[in-house]
């Protein structure tokens, strides 16, 4: 390989067919005299502009159609050299760092010698070693192209905002399960908003046996094994549900607050007494009707109960998970939009409550397609306020434009799967920790189950890896009509 051009932080490197450099590979451009080296990543591979190639191609198509038949008697065997030159490629590389005296710096301000520099491929293990991507809590994400493992440190996900995105069916949920399982392994508390009911069976292996996570997965299905009694609820949580999920107007909210306090003072905070209190409320008819309709929504959700035995204490699950690590999977699969919002409001309110009072240290929240249940104001809450309480969110989506630009700007880690749509790539490339060229060029060509990892976990060295398989019952597969019966 030969250094051809440098423009800004883009390097152009001439490469010959035997050198096999591909998108995503890292190169070390070493200038021995300067005692420095550039670390650059190949973001595009193009044909080198070899003079005469067009003529070469044109003369094989004289009729504009069928290639002319013939024989080349090449006694000196020049043809392989012609092919060698003709197939030379130009590697467009993004400079990621400068290596000087064993230390990395993000600078690309110096110019290595074009004639004296040596260029060689930098293996991922060597890069990770140089970048000091290691730690005591390794999570093996998968295998890289050069058959090495991409291992990140769990502490690099701690306190961060993460996004897992890619088009449908390319392995996003699989990666989130991998991260989740690894975090549980390190005794972390994980809460999952499971939109499609695919995380519930993570305690089982693919062949239906119990695995090491069996006792740590707490699957809660609203209105089934996940119900709450009103007296377990804090007024703020209920008000949050009424105002944000059920859109209760301000005047009615004031009346509800009064009723709630009266019932609580009487020690009679049940659904039936709440219904009775609303019916007997002496106030404006519209206010009473508004409260009655919200009351019926709460009752119809099936999420609230007056039977203490039916009530599941979310806090108990959280405390259990806090002690030995575990995941509380909130299964939202068969839940209506309104009920989903009620449940999410409740869970988030409860989490904030537990974290504020230090009953919980921190929670890793995995939210699939969050736009379907997260109210507008929660987005900023999650990335700013809740982060300080200790809610570290990972958004998983196949519609990147449903996540606000401000979220991308603050994302610490992005796990990017294949996208072919330009618009989707544009959205993702707004993230502060990536450059648009890398996202556009590499993500477009990612094969299924391959993920471009960007951000803090890889110390800002974007790395492509094939996400490793998991022996978990994932249940995330799409149900098909044309499945072949065994």
């Amino acid at each position: 390989m030969k250094l051809y051009k440098k423009e800004g932080n883009i390097l152009q490197v001439l490469s010959f067919p035997t050198e096999n450099a591909e998108k995503g590979d890292y190169l070390l451009v070493e200038d021995a005299d300067a005692g420095k080296a550039l670390i650059a990543q190949v973001i595009d591979v193009q044909f080198a502009a070899v003079p005469g190639v067009l003529e070469e191609l044109l003369r094989t198509l004289p009729d504009g159609g069928q290639p002319i038949q013939g024989e080349d008697i090449d006694p000196m065997e020049i043809a392989p050299h012609i092919t060698y030159i003709q197939d030379a490629s130009l590697l467009i590389c993004k400079i990621r760092a400068t290596l000087e005296n064993g230390a990395l710096s993000p600078s690309s301000s110096w110019l290595p010698s074009r004639s004296q520099s040596t260029i060689k491929k930098l293996s991922i293990p060597s890069l990770l070693k140089l970048a000091k991507v290691d730690g005591n809590l390794p999570i093996i994400l998968g295998g890289t192209k050069d058959s090495s493992l991409l291992t990140i440190d769990a502490s690099a996900i701690d306190g961060t905002l993460n996004i897992i995105t890619g088009k449908k069916g390319c392995g996003k949920s699989h990666l989130s399960k991998l991260l989740m399982a690894s975090l549980i392994g390190y005794k972390a508390t994980v809460v999952v908003f499971d939109l499609n009911g695919e995380y519930s069976c993570l305690g089982m292996t693919q062949d239906g046996k119990r695995n090491m996570y069996y006792d740590k997965i707490h699957a809660l299905t609203p209105a089934q094994n996940f119900k709450v009694a009103l007296d377990q609820l804090h007024l703020n949580v209920v008000m949050g549900i009424l105002i944000h999920a059920l859109h209760l107007p301000g005047t009615s909210a004031r009346e509800f607050r009064r009723i709630w306090k009266q019932l609580k003072d009487r020690g009679d905070l049940t659904l039936s007494s709440l219904g009775e209190a609303i019916r007997n409320l002496n106030c404006n008819q519209h206010v009473r009707d508004a409260l009655a309709s919200r009351y019926h929504s709460l009752v119809n959700s099936g999420f609230f109960t007056d039977v203490p035995a039916e009530a599941t204490l979310l806090e108990e699950c959280l405390l259990k998970a806090k002690e030995q690590g575990g995941a509380i999977v909130i299964n939202l699969r068969n839940t209506s939009t309104i009920d989903r919002q009620i449940v999410v409001e409740y869970v988030l309110g409860k989490l904030v409550d537990s974290l504020q009072s230090w009953r919980l240290k921190a929670v890793f929240l995995f939210a699939e397609e969050a736009h379907l249940y997260l109210r507008e104001t929660y987005w900023d809450d999650i990335v700013t306020r809740m982060r300080h309480f200790g809610i570290f969110t990972t958004f998983i989506t196949n519609q990147p434009d449903t996540i606000r630009e401000s979220i991308y700007r603050q994302a610490d880690n992005i796990f990017l799967f294949n996208f072919t749509n330009e618009h989707d790539l544009d959205v993702v490339s707004r993230a502060a920790r990536v450059d648009a060229e890398t996202v556009r060029s590499i993500a477009r060509d990612l094969p299924p189950h391959h993920c471009l990892t960007l951000g803090r976990v890889v110390h800002d060295f974007p790395i492509v890896a094939r996400v490793r398989a998991l022996d978990l019952k994932t249940m995330g597969e799409t149900r098909l009509f044309f499945t072949q019966a065994n």
């Binding site: 070899v50 005469g52 002319i68 038949q69 013939g70 090449d74 006694p75 050299h81």
Partner: protein
């Protein structure tokens, strides 16, 4: 009982009886090429074609052009058309000489399809020391053994590329003349003989072989210097619907240069281009016209030039990519380092320089 039959090749290359082809010359080319490269412990490539040399050597006198056109009627009778061309290029300089490459191409149209054979490239390192050996060895390899001509002296260093290419071209023409029967053989250039690289007997031999196989040799010149009344003969076209030929008379050269063909101006389609066409003068007029009519009826024409000959030229020409590949080859395989001599014109005159070719 023995059934006598011709040897028919299975490839599309020559679908007609083939005599045994003497491959001594290409073998010597390869030997001399490798030998010359071993003797070595860039300049811009400069590509040459044989025609430049031949044109420069013509000194006609009393040339007349008959402006009454001989009309041609396209004859679509299936006819094999074969064309030959060679090319040479200087691919660099060494401290002691020059590195050149030579390649030849034959193209033939048969059953409405084009086929080709390319021979080469042969790469030579030519120095003052080895030029005589290289040239004379190649001369003797095929031609001199037959005609017992006196020992030829090697041309100067700068003429070597075209002279070596000329040797290969005449050999290819001879092979085609021997193998194609009832066809048309298209040559790039003229049928002028007696020049330093085309002895009379060599041209006669090619034409004789062609006639023996009932083939006609047609030589097309892309550019001519022949003038009548001060104007190029190809510029004096009558206002007549093509295709047609214009006959010339009175063309004579100073000895030892002689013409082996009669010279015509050929305008073969509506494109406003005409070419000098030399036709073997030993064949009767009606056969000459029939040959050109078959050419018009069988070969595609681009700008009035036979497609087969155009392809032969295209196929033997070196592209920049190939020059790079050959430089790569000689550096890697033979460890030859090319010398980058400064372009003195550019050095002295800067942007006012037009390059060596215009010097």
């Amino acid at each position: 009982m023995v059934i006598e039959q011709y040897t028919i090749t299975t490839t599309q290359k020559y679908n007609f009886p083939q005599p045994t082809i003497d491959t001594t010359l290409p073998q010597r080319f390869l030997e001399q090429s490798l030998h010359s490269l071993k003797q070595v412990q860039s300049a811009a490539p400069f590509q040459l074609n044989q025609q430049h040399i031949q044109q420069a050597e013509e000194h006609p006198s009393s040339l007349q052009l008959n402006r009454t056109p001989i009309p041609l009627k396209p004859n679509h009778q299936e006819t094999t058309i074969a064309a030959i061309d060679t090319s040479t290029i200087k691919i660099g300089e060494t401290p002691t000489g020059i590195i050149i490459a030579i390649r030849g191409a034959t193209v033939w149209k048969q059953n409405r399809k084009y086929h080709y054979t390319r021979l080469g490239p042969f790469i030579f390192h030519i120095t003052e020391e080895n030029k005589n050996t290289v040239y004379n060895t190649l001369e003797r390899a095929y031609f001199t053994t037959r005609y017992e001509t006196p020992h030829q002296s090697a041309p100067n260093l700068m003429q070597m590329p075209t002279r070596l290419a000329s040797l290969l071209e005449r050999w290819l023409q001879t092979m085609i003349a021997k193998t194609v029967s009832d066809g048309l053989i298209l040559i790039d250039g003229s049928l002028t003989a007696g020049t330093i690289d085309t002895p009379v007997h060599r041209m006669r031999e090619i034409l004789h072989q062609a006639r023996k196989n009932r083939s006609t040799v047609l030589a097309f010149s892309k550019a001519t210097t022949l003038r009548v009344n001060g104007y190029l003969i190809t510029d004096q076209l009558p206002n007549t619907e093509p295709p047609y030929l214009l006959e010339t008379t009175g063309l004579r050269f100073k000895p030892p240069t002689v013409l082996q063909g009669d010279v015509y101006v050929a305008r073969l389609n509506k494109a406003n281009y005409a070419f000098r066409l030399d036709i073997d003068r030993e064949i009767p007029l009606h056969q000459r016209l029939e040959a050109v009519e078959k050419l018009v009826g069988n070969d595609l024409y681009t700008q009035g030039y036979p497609e087969t000959l155009r392809l032969a030229h295209i196929l033997c020409t070196f592209t920049a990519n190939e020059v790079l590949a050959m430089q790569h080859f000689i550096t890697r395989k033979h460890g030859i380092r090319l010398v980058n001599r400064p372009d003195m014109h550019r050095l002295l005159f800067g942007p006012f320089s037009k390059g060596e070719a215009y010097a």
